[in-house]
């Protein structure tokens, strides 16, 4: 079967890793919006600065599912600092590339991780802004947003 996606993307789409929710999550982030057609929700279980478990749920296209899936793999077992280093570029490279119109999905994946970490800090009583930066409520960094309205 030939698709617009790499074999790696299709693997993560067909067999996504870490789908679901975490009842005992201590960091939960949601980015994107239904109007855009992409919503990613990420659940983190952090202990001693390490991401012990991670789950996600995504409403979106094949690329959105695949970027969320691989992002969970890339941060699982890592420290918070390491997870904060995750870039959308690294997500794209790990998936052997994405079609240009789908690059914003990788940005969403990066943001979903940061949003969940931001929530973790807030729950710990720490202001996340100096650590993570300003988290917007919707997909501002998403290239589509500017053209939308």
């Amino acid at each position: 079967m030939s698709t617009m996606y790499s074999a790696k993307v299709m693997d993560h789409f067909a067999n996504p890793r870490n789908v679901g929710e975490l009842a005992d999550a201590n960091g939960v982030g949601e980015v994107g919006n239904a109007k855009c057609g992409d919503i990613m929700k990420m659940y983190l279980k952090i202990e001693n600065n390490v991401i012990e478990d991670v789950k996600f749920k995504t409403f979106g296209c094949g690329a959105a599912i695949a970027t969320s899936s691989i992002a969970t793999e890339m941060i699982k077992g890592k420290t918070i600092d390491e997870a904060l280093q995750l870039t959308n570029k690294a997500v794209v490279e790990a998936l052997d590339g994405l079609p240009p119109v789908k690059l914003h999905c990788s940005v969403l994946a990066e943001q979903a991780v940061k949003s969940a970490l931001s929530d973790y800090y807030t729950r710990q009583g720490v202001d996340p802004t100096p650590i993570i930066g300003c988290m917007s409520d919707d997909c501002h960094a998403c290239s589509c947003e500017g053209q939308h309205e």
């Binding site: 079967m1 698709t3 239904a34 855009c36 057609g37 992409d38 749920k57 409403f59 979106g60 296209c61």
Partner: protein, 396 residues
């Protein structure tokens, strides 16, 4: 991976019928003459083109000389709209009327005219995709040049009240064009009885070849030409005739319209089976389009909390070819303009799936499709953060 493909995207294109291909083949290597030539090799081809013109005329109940061959539905739409506007602008008629749910060949032609200074009224449709004939009548002004309203919608399958609109336009003396690309061969059409002045059709939607279509233009209705050059097509559409394709179109339209009733019965049986079964077995699904005034082969669902491209990728993995109106599949960032025009919120429009049956499909395929689709929707929802929310709302 499934070995067998179930192709249910016949509104996008159809496989060429074997008899159509057979009719076309002699016109490549044997009868290759130019129909404009005087020797017999060319004259035979002139006859072949005229024969096809007669086949199209018979299907529409018009005169052969009212049929012009074009490169397809898009060219025919462009010709009707731009040609009429440019012709009647000289008489001070610079207003056109259409609907919000037309194919882009119509909408973008209208937009091009707006940039030239023409004014366009886009009529709204109701939640089923129907435009009201009364709204057409109310929109007509003394300076209205053209009413262009599709016969049947390509996404949601809704069939518009064409005869009613035709009668109004004729009464008001306004030219009436219909994009009938999805309708020809699916529903009976009679351009005389329905007061249609211009009509666009395309061969590849009715098991003919791609790249060939026809433009019906009633005697006395003379939009300006789009393609200028040689004297082909009565001097109104230049370019050496694509003889094999024209022969293919003639054969395809003859086959498609020879027994519309039994073909429609076959397609609507599959359509109704899928609609009934999916609506029964899958929760939170909405049927888009009119419940009864609907193309026989068209099914269009919105699955709550599902995104269309995900549905299509899964279906593709199972060997099923369908389509969606989600932004991800439209190449733009907004979901389908048709689904938005019938009032669907963005997130519901993103979750649409179009299944369009053709003559080659079977009831067995329709059943297999449902088996697979039911599982696919469940899997896409399992991954969706919106589905959880919906469930909570429902269970409150």
């Amino acid at each position: 991976m499934s070995e067998k493909i179930i192709y249910v995207d016949n509104a996008a294109t159809t496989p060429t019928h074997g008899k159509v291909l057979e009719a076309m083949l002699p016109y490549f290597c044997e009868n290759y003459g130019n129909p404009s030539s005087v020797y017999s090799l060319g004259r035979d081809n002139r006859q072949a083109v005229d024969h096809a013109r007669g086949q199209v005329a018979k299907a529409l109940n018009c005169l052969p000389q009212e049929v012009y061959f074009t490169a397809g539905g898009s060219e025919s739409d462009n010709w009707a709209i731009k040609g009429t506007a440019h012709k009647l602008a000289a008489k001070g008629k610079k207003h056109l009327i259409t609907t919000a749910i037309e194919h882009h060949a119509v909408l973008h032609s209208m937009a091009a005219l707006e940039r030239e200074g023409f004014e366009v009224t886009y009529l709204p449709v109701d939640e089923n995709g129907l435009v009201s004939a009364a709204s057409v009548e109310a929109a007509i002004r003394p300076d209205t040049a053209l009413v262009s309203i599709m016969y049947a919608n390509n996404e949601i399958g809704t069939i518009e009240p064409i005869a009613e609109i035709g009668a109004i336009c004729r009464k008001k003396g306004v030219w009436f064009h219909t994009d009938a690309v999805q309708a020809v061969g699916a529903v009976p059409i009679d351009v005389q009885a329905q007061n249609i002045d211009m009509l666009s059709l395309s061969a590849h939607k009715l098991n003919g070849p791609k790249g060939i279509g026809a433009f019906y233009c009633r005697r006395g209705v003379l939009p300006t030409t789009l393609i200028d050059g040689g004297a082909q097509e009565s001097g109104r559409r230049a370019g050496t005739e694509n003889v094999p394709a024209i022969v293919g179109l003639g054969k395809a339209i003859e086959l498609a319209t020879s027994d519309i009733a039994s073909k429609a019965a076959k397609l609507s049986a599959m359509r109704d089976y899928v609609i009934e079964r999916i609506m029964k077995n899958v929760p939170e699904v909405k049927l888009n389009g009119h419940p009864t005034k609907r193309l026989p082969g068209n099914v269009n669902f919105s699955f709550k909390a599902c995104e269309g491209e995900s549905l299509l990728l899964f279906l593709d993995m199972k060997g099923i070819c369908a389509s969606s109106g989600s932004a991800c599949t439209s190449g733009s960032l907004d979901p389908s303009h048709v689904l938005l025009a019938i009032g669907l919120p963005h997130e519901v429009a993103h979750g649409s799936l179009r299944i369009s049956f053709g003559v080659q499909n079977t009831m067995e395929e329709a059943a297999q499709l449902c088996d697979i689709l039911e599982n696919v929707v469940e899997e896409v929802r399992r991954r969706s953060p919106l589905w959880h929310k919906n469930n909570n709302e429902i269970n409150k």
